[in-house]
Amino acid sequence: MKERVKAPVEEIRQKFPYVEVDEQQTVIVPADKLLELMQGLKNEFALDFLTNETAVDYPEESKFELIYNLNSICHGYTMMVKTSVDRDNPEIPSVFPIWGGANWQEREIYDLMGIVFTGHPNLKRILLDDKFDGHPLRKDFQWESVRE
């Protein structure tokens, strides 16, 4: 199988000195520098396709981790960007102004995890009922039919 084009992680680390890169070439950025990095990635590194945006709950470390997967259509590489927010007050700026594809994905994360995206045009619940109480995908959500 032919080798995939690798994302230019080294250049990104040089351009944005506040990011870290781990062994799987994932870029980790602090939450307050998120928008700056994302805008730079879209404009200068041609990462114009936001494939996936999701969140993972780590209650022991008291944080939510947000995962962004970006593809570059013309160059053909893909990259994962991670950031963390505090579990007790989960707020993070929305990347909707940069990629419109974040619209429904952020609504889903808000609905199921409870992370508030500031600057999102229509942050309402999407999969669950509007009057639903709680955020089911959190690890401490009480649910009935769990099979042990």
């Binding site: 199988m1 032919k2 995939r4 799987q24 114009d48 396709f49 936001l50 494939t51 996936n52 999701t54 993972v56 709950d57 995962i67 997967n69 259509i73 053909g76 893909t78 994962m80 990629w99 419109g100 594809g101 974040a102 619209n103 429904w104 994905q105 889903e108 199921l112 619940r125 999407i126 999969l127 669950l128 009922d129 089911p136 995908l137 649910w143 769990v146 099979r147």
Partner: protein, 367 residues
């Protein structure tokens, strides 16, 4: 004293043209849509939460039930993600069987999309002709896997069973007949002037908008963007096959529909090549996999090209035998994000045409 008034029409969850339980709250001025608010979630079953309480192999049937029309492709994405996480090698014969059943699933999904689109536009006969072919394909898949729609054929490390005696010849025969059937669909549906008048220049999408809104699959390629994961980021053994990626020019409903028809022809090509090549490959259909699967602590994101678009699986493991987090990036869900802007200013009949051309399946939208 005479005035017009906008009214609110519920293109309700129960409707013959919404491809499932999907609601669009329309604000109409006469027959023109002023505002459309899509409401989904009527089929939400909590698959991502359920997956955290099952072992890695037990998650595979859940993945079938999302896009139940092209079940093998959903299985394939998940299984390849876990194999990437654990570093498992898949034997050759299993790879070929995955390709053949995957492309057959893609064919069943596109055939249904074509037929149901003809039904939405009003040509009932096209729908029944397409289903005639789908029955043949589902019979073949039943012989292979035991189930017509929700296959659960892929396993972590290979596939469940080898192909039964004579199955590959039957698939070969059907693939020889398929171009003739696709000609029939072209004659009845694609070439019909009324169909073209209903779908051409309706719901146009520019390539920049399509990329910005993360649309994928035939919806993206109809706008002219050449992005098919089987070619741009190949997975499995797709780089051994010779096929084309059909592109559109205008990005209207007709182009999206016609891209699917041409993709059917390409799937037929791939299956025929795979059947040729699998004759020389013999061996097990399941790799060396431990009895209890415990992937190392870590995470992986893997995406493949399903019939509706890009399906991605994010699997995070904490070292136990149950996944810590499974997230599915569902193509129909993301493709619908642009719906409310696309249908502003069109008539109700055009809403049906546009929704049909995006080709959603509600099991996938709601997960």
């Amino acid at each position: 004293m005479l005035k017009t008034q906008e009214y609110c029409l519920n293109f309700g969850p129960q409707h013959p043209a919404t491809h499932g339980v999907f609601q669009v709250i329309l604000t109409l001025d006469g027959e023109k849509i002023v505002k459309a608010e899509p409401v989904c979630g009527y089929l939400h079953r909590g698959i991502e939460k359920l997956a955290e309480a099952r072992t890695y192999t037990q998650v595979i049937p859940y993945t079938d039930r999302m896009d139940y029309l092209a079940a093998m492709l959903q299985n394939l994405g998940y299984v390849q993600a876990v194999e990437k996480l654990m570093g498992i090698e898949v034997p050759e014969r299993a790879e070929y069987l995955r390709i053949i059943s995957g492309e057959l699933s893609r064919l069943t999904s596109h055939v249904l999309g074509t037929g149901v689109y003809a039904l939405d536009i009003g040509g009932f006969t096209g729908f029944l002709l397409c289903f005639r072919e789908r029955e043949k394909m589902m019979d073949l898949l039943e012989e292979l896997t035991g189930s017509r729609m929700t296959l659960s054929y892929a396993r972590i490390g290979g596939v469940a069973d080898d192909a039964p005696e004579g199955w590959l010849e039957k698939v070969d025969r059907l693939m020889d007949e398929m171009p003739g059937y696709i000609e029939e669909y072209n004659g009845l549906i694609t070439g019909n002037e009324i169909f073209q008048a209903r779908t051409k220049f309706v719901g146009e999408l520019t390539p920049e908008t399509a990329v910005n809104y993360s649309l994928s699959g035939p919806v993206l390629r109809a706008s002219g963007v050449n992005y098919d994961l089987r070619k741009n980021m190949p997975y499995g053994i797709y780089d051994r096959f010779d096929f084309e990626v059909p592109l559109g020019t205008n990005g209207d409903c007709f182009d999206r529909f016609y891209c699917r028809v041409r993709e059917m022809e390409q799937s037929v090509r791939i299956i025929k090549q795979a059947i040729e090549q699998i004759k020389e490959v013999d061996g097990p259909v399941m790799g060396k996999v431990p009895k209890v699967l415990k992937p190392p602590k870590g995470e992986v994101y893997h995406e493949i090209e399903s019939s509706k678009g890009i399906i991605g699986y994010y699997v995070a493991s904490d070292g136990s035998n149950k996944p810590y987090r499974v997230h599915v990036r569902r193509p129909s869900f993301v493709n619908l994000g642009y719906l409310d802007e696309m249908v502003r200013g069109v008539l109700i009949a055009d809403l049906v045409a546009i929704l049909g051309s995006i080709d959603i399946v509600l099991g996938e939208v709601d997960c």
